[in-house]
Amino acid sequence: MKTSLILNMARALMLARFKQTVVAGVGVVFSITMFVTLLSFMNGLNQLLDGLILNRTPHIRFYNEIKASTSQPIEASEAFSDHYHIIRSIKPAASRTSIYNNEAIIRTFKDDLRVKGVARKIAAQVFFNVGALDVSGVINGIDVEEESRLFAFEDYVIAGDFLDLKYTANSIILGKGAADRMLAEIGDVVQVTTAQGNRIQLKVVGYYQSGLGELDNVQSYASIGTVQKMLSETPSYVTDIQVKLHDFDLAPEMAREYKEIFGIDADDIQTVNAQFEAGTGIRSMISYAVGITLLIVSGFGIYNILNMMIYEKMDTIAILKAIGFSGRDVNMIFITIALAIGFFGGIIGLFFGFLAGLGIEQVPFELEALPTIKTLPVDFNPKYYIIAGVFSLVTTYFAGYFPARKASSIDPVDIIRGK
């Protein structure tokens, strides 16, 4: 009964100053719309840009680095154990780049519940022999299906079918830049010379375009078997093991853990791509800041309008108090007004924000570098809608708080006697 009375009072006061109420509401609608639109668009872009790198990057990459041995023979000698060792001109040892016992390692990863998938990879330095010219490049030998499942390989194959890599013997998918340079069409055969001097003919079955020019000029893909054959290596030859996790935040910790166990090098995604994280963070921080500023400005609008309403409705407040409304009741009436403006403005704002998102999503956005993107990206994550909704209520509550407190402390005697 009492709540409905307070709601009734709030409604009557709002209707009495309908125009101002609408103006305040429009302020909230506008700011919530902008907040949601800005955040979903900004984060859509963020995800696009991050995806450009992060989707294709393994969360942990295991490999053998070419490096000097960490322990030198002299350290083993007891005769010199209490001496300083000064060794000049250390060279890296002729260690193998292949990962030793990689089948067992891969089995271990597959049994680890934190791991979403594992894909082997061989990177081979080659020369493409184009007429009289040699063009340098890298051929990545990959597990075609796993690579596609884990690292969205399929999305970046812009011509041809990526599965042909697996089903056609001695096939290659060329980087778009490399293909343009070599004038190689699909169906053509290109000749490749490996660093060891082996020559092999590969059939072009598709083009690959990542959106990063320097990658596309150099990188090409073949099946792992083809590359092993090219390098005259056994089927157990693997230079990289790429691991994708369910939760990529675990990457640094797991990289350290397995580095110890297997004694191989491991890079985690956070360390390698730290700058992307930072960029993403700053971009979303800016959009949050702009959005929240908009909301606070609309909060001031509500504050002004409520203050005005209180001055105009002094008599009403005084009479309510005289007939038995407590300060708290009056306070609640004005808080209710503020929250109602925030609530309805917020709902309409969320709806318009959603529409704006749909609108932006229709805007064509085609870049040669981004083959999978046809329109501007928008992220419809409910998170932004929830944040915007909560913020609209919080700011309007605070905008109403001070005027409501003032209203509740009005002394009815002053008003009634002042007449």
Partner: protein
């Protein structure tokens, strides 16, 4: 029931502090018992309105003791005072003080809604009954600002009766009305006193009005001359 005190004021003193400390009420002591129709008379500035606002519990800045319905109210929390006002006191002001945002019926109902002891339907019924006493039932659905001054004052009295209060307090309820309307309002008070034995305490400076009441409390210079 007659004879039980509704209001007991004991040695009430009140000071105004601006521009300088002045004592506006001096040891005011009196009683209103149930069923009495009392008027407070005095020249303007003698403190009669100030006294009324203290008795109404709206003004809490005074010295002395005040009992309403044998309950000590001085020093009580603001929320409790609001409850007392809502339940036990009906108000009629010099200016009608209806809420223009609401209809006549709603205006009358508001104290009842606030009290929250009856359902909305019951309250509507009660409010209509109160309006009928003053022959205002035909105006029930009009907005408050569509009424004439005299009609507004009648509605305000109906509102003051909404919760069947222990006492009705009026601050010059006829002060802002012409002769005809003020007669109507006066007759209403008279009727309330005679037919309903409603306890009433009315501040007025109209001797004619005061003459029609059971008892006149005369005030001068912050003092009660007779009680």
């Amino acid at each position: 029931m007659r004879g039980k005190p509704v209001i007991e004021a004991q040695k009430i003193n009140k000071y105004f502090y601006s521009p300088e400390k002045t004592r506006v009420l001096k040891d005011v002591t009196f009683q209103v018992t149930r069923g009495e129709f009392v008027s407070i008379m005095g020249k303007s500035g003698c403190g009669k309105s100030t006294l009324l606002y203290i008795l109404s519990t709206m003004d809490t800045d005074y010295e002395g003791s005040l009992l309403i319905d044998e309950e000590e109210v001085s020093g009580k929390k603001a929320n409790r005072l609001s409850e007392i006002r809502n339940e036990k006191i009906g108000f009629v002001f010099q200016f009608h003080y209806l809420l223009n945002e609401f209809s006549v019926l709603e205006n009358v109902m508001i104290p009842g809604l606030k009290l929250g002891k009856k359902s909305k339907e019951e309250l509507e019924h009660v409010a209509m009954e109160k309006l009928r006493i003053f022959d205002m039932q035909d105006h029930a659905l009009k907005k408050a600002n569509q009424l004439s001054g005299g009609q507004k004052q009648r509605v305000a009295i109906a509102r003051s009766l909404m919760n069947d209060p222990l006492i009705i307090m009026g601050d010059e309820p006829t002060g802002n009305l012409d002769k005809k309307n003020s007669d109507i309002v006066f007759n209403i008070f008279k009727e309330l006193a005679q037919e309903f034995h409603q306890t009433m305490l009315i501040v007025t400076h109209d001797p004619e009005f005061a003459a029609g009441t059971d008892r006149i409390i005369e005030m001068e210079d912050g003092r009660v001359l007779n009680s």
